[in-house]
């Protein structure tokens, strides 16, 4: 690691002003769990890091809004989200998922904003929040915009977030009784990067029939992927074993898989075929 400037702005606005729209060597740093690894291995040599640790305290809080939506500040740590009572009551899937998505030391330090902005397709928070229909607010020097988590990613480590934009918060719509499940599938140790991660959200028409679904996968493909055709197949359907088999087939055809150290593309395809049904069964159980 070579020397670089370290800035400690006291507000989100100030932090944004210290970023550089053109220079990729200027980066914001929240928990730093991913960025520090890139720096240690020499993949990234910053000229300036803008620490977000000192920005307004409100960005490190979680709250349930009056309309039932759930707001997570970008500086909330994964561990805080895991332990949040509101999340446990209103989005129980979050707690269960976060426990599997990294070790406790990382969860204590890593922040929601950083985990969403990093763009590594193996990360678990993006598909988890995308499955829940989350949107993030992006603050730039003169701009403020909102974008769905599923639309953040354009490729491998590529996002639509500009160099001088910061994620301020994530907003989750109320579940309204929808059933959810999230599964991380590894092919080596439990705390490895996943070979596949999958999130399913089922809005029920009645106790047996699914009205609408959201299906999001990560890790297996080059970027976070929403399985639109499979969602359609499962709409207004009773997810019996035959339907689940068809859905698995559809998902396996629709997603584009990449081979890596965690498994070949054909293996990941097989994992999706199997785990799509498992995730839906888990959501319904």
């Amino acid at each position: 690691v070579t020397p670089f400037d370290w800035m400690e702005p006291q507000s989100l606005r100030e932090a944004v002003s210290l970023l550089d729209p053109e220079d990729p060597a200027v980066r914001p740093i929240a928990g730093g769990t991913a960025l520090m690894l890139m720096m240690k291995t020499g993949f990234f040599a910053p000229s300036r890091l803008v620490s977000l640790a000192g920005i307004e305290r409100d960005y490190a809080t979680i709250r349930l809004n009056g309309d039932g939506s759930f707001r997570i500040g970008s500086m909330v740590s994964l561990a805080e989200l895991e332990r949040s009572r509101e999340a446990a009551v209103h989005f129980p899937v979050i707690k269960n998922a976060i426990r599997t998505l990294s070790n406790i030391r990382v969860r204590n330090v890593a922040r929601v904003g950083g985990a969403l902005a990093h763009g590594d397709p193996h990360m678990d928070l993006p598909p988890l929040l995308a499955m829940l229909g989350a949107r993030v607010s992006l603050i730039g020097p003169d701009t403020a915009r909102e974008i769905a988590v599923e639309d953040l990613y354009t490729g491998y480590y590529q996002t639509v977030i500009k160099n001088n934009e910061l994620i301020a918060e994530a907003i989750l719509p109320p579940l309204n009784g929808a059933r959810c499940a999230y599964i991380k599938v590894t092919s080596r140790s439990a705390d490895d990067w996943p070979a596949l991660n999958i999130g399913v959200k089922l809005e029920m028409a009645d106790s047996r029939t699914v009205a609408r679904t959201r299906l999001v996968i990560g890790a297996a493909a080059e970027r976070l992927t929403r399985l639109a055709a499979t969602e359609k197949l499962l709409s207004d359907a009773v997810p019996d074993e035959a339907t689940l088999a068809r859905a698995g087939e559809c998902a396996a055809t629709e997603a584009r898989f990449v081979s890596d150290a965690h498994g070949s593309a054909p293996y990941k395809k097989e994992l999706l075929r199997v785990y799509l049904a498992r995730a839906i069964r888990e959501a319904l159980s």
Partner: protein, 756 residues
């Protein structure tokens, strides 16, 4: 209080959990320079040029050093325990990707790292060889000539051998194996492989050399301070007493820190710079330093129809990588156990270690035994199933019992092989019906047992100092690297001198004060150093008794030690020094037949029982229950012995299911903890660690080493359980879910496509 068999807490535990324990990684001394290493990017090549000018010109760079600079102060800068083949920095040739070629020295480690990036080297690339079987006959030759070190008598015959990659060709001949196969009702032959893996101690290698007057002090994370002193003195042409090697606690060793690793580099750099120099490796650099042999093992057995193995032929190829390190000794010392813990009349073993252009391989917890047990215990299970015999019963019929000759001819003694197998069967309730799972989840169980010999001939010395107030210090060069040796040694002293173990102070790892010890390796410390410590304590006890007699205290009474000194010296003064040296008996094996009437000071026995669940839709294996049983002799501290068993089993579980160095043209492509996964806490299965108590007659109070025993059998026990569950036999480690699923699908006639 009887100190033997007391499960006291580790003496150093409090200092470790409160962060007070010293490690070389944290040491700083005034004027210290950091060394950062520029490494080879080709697997095999002649060095044409090394351009260090840009680095040398950077502000804050103290110096840039190459192999030729080292040669100016050390004319023959080649080191190694088995062969003198490893240059401190590459000379003339590079032999693997990652080999140290040059070093930048700077007071600022980050600046040194940056300067390393500006060094450029040109190589004339040579044909590399990576595979252990190919290397035996390949045209590509890694080293032109073999240069055995002379340390080990059994390697001397290799001196001067040229144009070969074979570093050792060990052979054992017992009976007539071909006649045995001819007489057998069935002959089975299988080939097994293991990949290259590594130790990954959480503390990487670190050495700090400090020139001080005519001496050189080397603070180092080493398991072998005495060897380091001898080897550095040899390289420098100095007497040993000018080299002082000091070792605090280690953050794990597992064999990665034996013999010389970074010490020679640190020493040479400190003498060139005339400043203290620290060489501290990153996690990534561990992948270019030392590893565990990849192995190919072809095993063939002749069996009678009533389930007796009468002949066994073993061909083992060990991938030693670019430098011998201790590899030739792995091929020999471990090679002779390749036929397993069985009573077999006709045995042939050919165990061949070869140089390749991979990172060097050496000693790793088990010293090659887990690779052999992987093969012979998978093979054993395959035969049992072919014959329709129960795997436990088949093993019982062939097991090697005390009083019977091992394949080396040594008569077995104090090896509780049958008791370990019985204990596993009992714990697993082997004869009761077993739940085979439902639906797509299939369950199975498997056992495996393994045998290891201890290292010999070796020497250990210890000093016990009793002060005038009766307090006691033990001086030993056995290094506590997490295995609890300080505690066990304190218990031995306490037992002899009738005090509480907690009151004994242990000073370890200082060649200026503690006597010679061969090394903290091969589970030898409890036995070898334990015996030396016991002798030293007994010597002190005898001297105290003599002193008591001298001052007129009646023999056999319960007098206070303080009183003896006060009576003798008129005040609290003086001390008593007890010394002990232990060298076990040993007969070197015949070089042609491998026969010896005393091939090991003691045997280690370890068995594993595994119950697994296989997800037949994904190939995932979940270990439901892992039972580790080991012959522990009479354990000094049962609690520490059990944690040694559980730790070893978890480590081997990683080598079984997750760990593998991935290579692309000689380049390791997963040299980080993000991409090379060791087991985490969530991977630890329900585990039982069971000590089979048996007397080791020659051990201190009946004790023997257990640091490796639980590693032997984990891999085949799991593979045997997988076969039991789904009928698929895997012959290569690690067992990846994708590999298993592919095998399952192929067996069902609907194979997965190779790739998209």
């Amino acid at each position: 209080v009887n100190q033997m068999g007391r499960s006291i807490a580790r003496l150093e535990a409090r200092s470790k959990v409160t962060g007070r324990a010293d490690y070389v990684h944290n040491m700083r001394v005034p004027g210290m320079l950091h060394a950062k290493i520029f490494r080879s990017t080709v697997a095999h090549g002649r060095i044409l040029s090394i351009d260090t000018s840009a680095a040398a010109g950077m502000d804050g760079v103290f110096a840039v050093i190459t192999g030729e600079d080292i040669r100016k102060i050390i004319p023959q800068p080649y080191f190694g325990p088995a062969f003198h083949d490893q240059p401190i920095l590459a000379l003339e040739k590079v032999h693997f990707i990652g080999e140290p070629v040059a070093v930048v020295l700077s007071a600022d480690p980050h600046l040194a790292e940056q300067a390393v990036q500006t060094i450029a080297a040109e190589y004339e690339e040579l044909e590399p060889v990576f595979d252990e079987v190919e290397a035996k006959t390949s045209e590509a030759i890694v080293h032109e000539e073999l240069k055995p070190a002379g340390t080990f008598a059994d390697l001397k015959h290799l001196a001067g051998r040229k144009h070969t990659n074979v570093t050792l060709d060990y052979q054992l001949r017992r009976g007539d194996v071909e006649a045995g196969f001819a007489a057998a009702d069935h002959v089975y032959e299988h080939t097994f492989r293991t990949g290259q893996v590594l130790h990954v101690p959480l503390e990487s290698h670190a050495s700090l050399a400090v020139p001080e007057g005519e001496s050189l002090i080397i603070h180092t994370a080493s398991q072998t301070p005495s060897f380091v002193r001898t080897e550095i003195a040899r390289l420098l042409g100095w007497p040993e007493n000018r080299v002082s090697v000091r070792v605090p606690f280690l953050g794990g060793g597992f064999g990665a820190k034996v013999y010389v690793k970074m010490e020679a580099l640190a020493a040479a750099l400190a003498l060139i710079a005339r400043r203290p120099v620290k060489v501290a490796l990153t996690m990534e650099e561990q992948f270019y330093t030392i590893s565990k042999h990849a192995v190919t093992f072809r095993i063939k057995s002749g069996v009678t129809s009533d389930g007796r193995v009468i002949a066994r032929a073993c061909d083992v190829w060990w991938n030693g990588g670019a430098y011998a390190d201790i590899g030739p000794r792995v091929a020999q010392k471990t090679g002779f156990t390749a036929a397993g813990p069985y009573d077999i009349e006709h045995v042939r073993i050919d165990s061949t270690e070869v140089y390749t252009n991979r990172p060097p391989a050496g000693a790793l917890r088990g010293f090659g035994v887990p690779q052999l047990v992987w093969a012979y215990e998978s093979h054993t299970d395959m035969i049992a199933r072919e014959l329709g015999l129960d795997p436990v019963e088949f093993r019982r019929r062939n097991i090697l019992r005390d009083g019977r000759p091992h394949a080396t001819g040594t008569i077995m003694k104090d090896a509780a092989i049958d008791q370990v197998l019985d204990r596993l069967a009992e714990r697993m309730n082997w004869n009761a019906p077993f739940d085979r799972g439902t639906g797509t989840v299939k369950r199975g169980r498997g056992v495996a047992i393994g045998l290891k010999a201890s290292i010999s001939p070796t020497t250990s010395g210890a000093i016990v100092n009793v002060s005038a107030d009766g307090s006691i210090v033990l001086y030993t060069n056995t290094i506590d690297m997490g295995q609890g040796s300080d505690t066990a040694m304190a218990q031995l002293v306490a037992e002899v001198l009738n005090v509480a173990a907690e009151a004994v102070k242990v000073v370890h790892g200082n060649t200026d004060v503690a006597p010679y010890d061969m090394g903290t390796l091969g589970s030898r410390s409890t036995f070898h150093m334990g015996n030396a410590v016991k002798l030293a304590a007994e010597d002190a006890r005898a001297k105290l008794a003599a002193l008591a007699a001298e001052v007129g205290l009646p023999a056999g009474t319960n007098y206070d030690v303080k009183e003896i000194f006060r009576k003798r010296y008129g005040m609290q003064a003086g001390n008593v020094i007890g010394t002990g040296t232990y060298v076990p008996r040993y007969t070197p094996p015949d070089p042609k037949t491998g026969q010896s009437d005393n091939v090991t000071p003691f045997w280690m026995v370890g068995g594993t029982g595994a119950e697994v669940e296989v997800d037949s839709e994904t190939g995932h294996v979940r270990v439901l229950r892992l039972i580790n049983a080991a012959d522990a002799g009479r354990p000094i501290n049962p609690k520490i012995c059990r944690t040694q068993l559980s730790g070893g089993a978890i480590m081997q579980l990683g080598f079984t299911l997750y760990e593998d160095m991935v290579f692309d043209g000689g380049q390791v492509t997963n040299a980080s903890f993000a991409d090379y996964k060791i087991p985490g806490f969530r991977d630890v299965p329900p585990m039982e660690s069971d000590l089979v108590t048996a007397n080791q007659e020659t051990g201190p109070f009946g004790a023997k080493g257990v640091g490796e025993s639980s590693t032997f059998s984990v891999s085949p026990a799991i593979a045997n359980a997988i076969h039991d569950a789904v009928g698929i036999r895997l012959t290569e480690l690690p067992i990846k879910p994708e590999t298993l699923l592919r095998a399952l699908r192929a067996a069902q006639g609907r194979p997965l496509p190779e790739d998209e």
